[in-house]
Symmetry: C2
Subunit: 329 residues, 2 copies
Amino acid sequence: MGQNAVVMAVDIGGTTISAGIVGADGAVHAPRQVPTYARGKGEAVLENIVGALEGLRGEAPAGALVVGVGIGAPGNVDAAAGRIGEDIQNIPELKGLALGPLVAGRLGLPVVVDNDVNALALGEMAFGAARGARNFILICIGTGVGGGIVLNGRIVRGASGYGGEVGHMSVEPDGRPCFCGSRGCLKAYLSGPDLAAQACEALAAAPAARFLVLAGGDAAAIRAEHLFQAAREGDTAAQAIVDRAARILGTALGNLINGLNPELILLGGGVMGAADLLLEPARAWARRYSFASAFAAAKIGLASLDKHSGIKGAAALFFIERGGEVAMR
Amino acid sequence: MGQNAVVMAVDIGGTTISAGIVGADGAVHAPRQVPTYARGKGEAVLENIVGALEGLRGEAPAGALVVGVGIGAPGNVDAAAGRIGEDIQNIPELKGLALGPLVAGRLGLPVVVDNDVNALALGEMAFGAARGARNFILICIGTGVGGGIVLNGRIVRGASGYGGEVGHMSVEPDGRPCFCGSRGCLKAYLSGPDLAAQACEALAAAPAARFLVLAGGDAAAIRAEHLFQAAREGDTAAQAIVDRAARILGTALGNLINGLNPELILLGGGVMGAADLLLEPARAWARRYSFASAFAAAKIGLASLDKHSGIKGAAALFFIERGGEVAMR
């Protein structure tokens, strides 16, 4: 692909659509954000996505050629068909939509669509902390817990676009229930809302817990940040929740290490803002729950995500999946 | 590869080395077995392997061309280097041995070496129940619990040859300890010896358990088969152990379904002789521990293993990994 090939990239979130033009070197041009529902609900969401892309048309740097469109979207995605799956929780109007073909038809450009965390994983491979890695796993821990798995240099999509959903692997069969139908998933202990929920539940036994004070005395206002701050200040109720979350994370990492033997695991997302509390304990549990040599082969570190990671990932989707075809034109 | 290309195949086990010539259609010629230690311990094991292969030299069918050697071996294997790994439990003299280059040098033929269960998985893909599958998992439950994972049509080896070791994924973090260092692994509940151990332990609370009678009254003689037979006859202590094993298996299947979204999971090995007791309960637990659509995409069935599966798998290793090169000669 020529040095001046660029991709129009969109990252679709539940509240915000981010868009921009991304070069093969990862440079971001004309980044912008619009509210997902800026034009209203229903079909207006599709118009909003197309509008964001059309707004980028004149913004390519001088001499650059727009070769295609990359789109990251929540939930499971049928990347081969460019179709949004059935398990998209936060933007129901996109459910089952053939987004790729629709956008391609409107813009007259080839389009690649995939799950947003798969896009982030490919972004890490193309432009970030996973450059050169052939076997790595990205886990994004925020409002939900998403994952992207690259093995033999290729993203794992599986039979119907669920590949990489490591946030919904159970390590406590009798543990906390999860919306996915399972129990004891990573997500049920590690996501921001689940951390806050565990803090609320702990108030029964620890009514004077520090995180309640930090939340202004309002249990409904407790967020993961309050829990983490309380743990840093030595609050034992907070520490117990954080320790359990780190153990769950580490056990899951051990399982991934034994099952898939990655050379690299990257952890990112808002909850990893508490890497000071989570990373070392999770590493220690992962060591305990894996073969010594498989553990030794696996670097566990932080993702290199920044505010443009969503669109860089969406662009990486196109560059990695279609780069070869474009280069041959 | 020509129709008359054949591979000399060896499956190395802790007690027996199986060898034979295998055609591209999976037909097995001149199968034979020798005890692993027939020529003694130490370097004699390598001589025994080479001897088994040399004995096959004149056995290729008329008109067939021997294009290479495929070897399946226990433990983790560095397939790129043809080197046996550090975690081979049962044949210590092979630990760290560059078996591929050594055999290639002795026989003057290209050699592919991989983990025996990876070989079985590729055998299922080339000749068995996984023909046409691009994303599937084989789990072999016997003396140990091994696995082979094929994603995007390629076997998952990982960074250092542990890829596919699904038998050592933990689903009970406080569960039974395992030799791998972890706790609550599949292996710790499902392997034949672990099933027998759980039966022994249950005698404390159920001294009249039926499996003790079936074992001739000798606790040390209890085998998994006695446990399964007792469960079939309605023994509650036996049923509790079998039910728990099925739940552990099903939870692990659910995790694999959510994480990797395979189209097919094949279960094989001696313990699956009790498929009548294990398969449906494991399926039901897997359904409970996975996304409904990901579960719906995953067929869970029995492997098509037979007495020649080891050598067919070893041959598939060569045909799949090197077939392209051979065809171009």
